[in-house]
Assembly symmetry: C2
Homo-oligomer: 309 residues x 2
Amino acid sequence: MKKIKVFSPASIANLSCGYDVLGVCLENIGDEITVKKTKNKGVTIKNIQGQNLSTDISKNVAGVSAIALLKETNIDYGFEIKIKKGIKPGSGIGSSAASSAGSVFAINKLIGEPFSRKELIKFAMEGEMIASGYRHADNVAAVLLGGFTFVRNSVMHDYFKLNTPIELAFAVIHPKIELKTKDSRAVVKKNVTITDMVSQSANLGAFVSGLYTENYELIGKSMNDIVIEPMRSILIPKFYETKSACLSEGALSCGISGSGPSIFALCKGVSKANNVANRMKEIYNKLDLEYDVFVSCVNDQGVKVLKFK
Amino acid sequence: MKKIKVFSPASIANLSCGYDVLGVCLENIGDEITVKKTKNKGVTIKNIQGQNLSTDISKNVAGVSAIALLKETNIDYGFEIKIKKGIKPGSGIGSSAASSAGSVFAINKLIGEPFSRKELIKFAMEGEMIASGYRHADNVAAVLLGGFTFVRNSVMHDYFKLNTPIELAFAVIHPKIELKTKDSRAVVKKNVTITDMVSQSANLGAFVSGLYTENYELIGKSMNDIVIEPMRSILIPKFYETKSACLSEGALSCGISGSGPSIFALCKGVSKANNVANRMKEIYNKLDLEYDVFVSCVNDQGVKVLKFK
C-alpha cells in the first residue's frame, strides 16, 4: 500500500454525565485524510482544504499525532498528508480529534498495522494536547473505536467501548461562534460538593447501565449534568431555550457537545431526531447567527478506509 | 397467611467506587424476622434476640419501617414482630437495613403483597433514617432486590438491579469496634476537586460496565476509592495492612464495607475468598481485638421467606 484515504468522523465528548470520560462517534460529518508514502523520511502536510489551518507539522494536530506514532517505529521512509476538513475547529464536535486520529489510523495502515485501534489512541492524544492543552482521550477514543466509548483513566491508557443501542440518533446544532476548548475549560470551577459528586457519578453509572440494558428512558434521564453545564452554558446562545424545545419535542436528553458551542440532543429514532433538529433551527433562525444542523446515528465502526492503492 | 418468618441478609454498601450509590446483597449472615397478625391494630415488637436493642416501635428500625408501610394501607388489624439479630449493629454490613427491609417484606407478604420489592425500598429507608440520620437506599435496595444494586437518586426513588457475574465472592472481616454511620460520615470532607470527581465517577461507570461484560479485571481495578476511603480508613485498625495482604493474596479489590469498620475483599471464586479470609484473620490475630470473618457469594435473591402459616 502506497497511498490511503480515510474518513475520520466527528464525535461528541462528555455526553452531559461523563465529563472527560464519555465519547460517541458520529456518522457522515468528518475529515478526509489522504496519506502517501514518500522516499524522504519525515512527515509533511501538503495542503489543508476547507479550513485555514497551519501546515507546520509541529502545530497541526495531524502532524503532531503522526510524529508521536513514528517515534515508536523504525520506518525508513516518510509521509505526505493532505487534509480535507469537514469539521470546523472550535465547534465542539471533535475537529482536532478527527484529524489527529485519522492521521495515525492512515499511517498505521500504510506501515502494515503494527498498532491496534486502541493502541493508536495514545498517539492521537498528542494531537489533542496541541489543540487544547491537555491529553484527553474522550473524542479520539470514540473516533478510533467507534460507538460509545469510556475513558477510565487516560494517563494509564485505560479506555474501552460500551454497548450501542441501535435506535439512538443525535440531532446536533453548531452555532457558528468559535469556542476554544481551553477557554471553555477555564469557566469550570475547581471543586464540587460530595453531594454533587454522588449525583453526577450516579448519573454516569446509570447511563452505562442504560446502554447495556438498552433502557432508553434510563439513558435519557441519566444524561443530566449538574456540575459542568450550568457553568459552560453561559457561553452558548439560547442554550436553555434550545434544550427545553428539544425535550418538549421528545428528545431523550439535550446537552453541550464537548466543550461547546455545539448542542446535541439524543433521540430514539432518526425520525424523532429530524423533528428535534427542526426545533433547533426554529430557535436559531430568530438569532442573527449562522449555524449548521445535522442528524446522525451512532457510528459503531469509527474511522474507516475510503480507498487505497 | 397469619404468620411469616423471613431471612433478611447482610449487605455491603458503597463498594469503594459507589459512595451512596452501590450495594450488594450477601448470603448466610442476616436477621430472622417473624411477624404475626394481631387483632388489635398497630405494631408491637415482642422481643429481640441476639442484641440489646429498643423494642419501642418509634426507635427500632423494623418498627419505623413497618409504620411507614402501614400509613399507605387501610389494614384493620395489627402486627407483632420478633427479631433474631444475626448482624451486629454498627458493623458496616447493613444491620439496620436487614431489620428494616425484613420487617416490611414480611408485613407486605401478610397483607397480600400490595407492594413490589422495589416499592418496599422507600419504607425501609425510613428505618435507615432513624438508624443513621439520613434516608439512604444503598443497603435496603440490595436486601430487597438482591444482587448488585444501583441508587441513581434516592429522593426520586430511582434504583435498579445490575448484572451479577456468577463467580464473584466476598471475604469480610468485622473488627469488633462499633462505628456509628453518623460518626463515620462526619469524617468525610464536604468538597472534592473536579479532577477527583472525574476519577471517582469513571471508576463507578467502569465498574458497572465490568459487571455487564463480566470482566473481572475491570471490576477489580475500578473498585478504587480516592475520595472517601483515605478519610474513613483512619477509623479502622490495620486497614491498609489488611488491604495490602488481601490484594497480594489475589483479591480483585478490597475496601471499607459501608461506613465501616468491616472490611470486604472481592474475589473471583469462593476458594480464593477463603484464602483471602485466612489472610485477614492472620493480621487481626496479632491484635488484641475480637473479630468475625465470613465468606459469601452474591445473594441474587435478596430477603426471602423461611416459613409461613
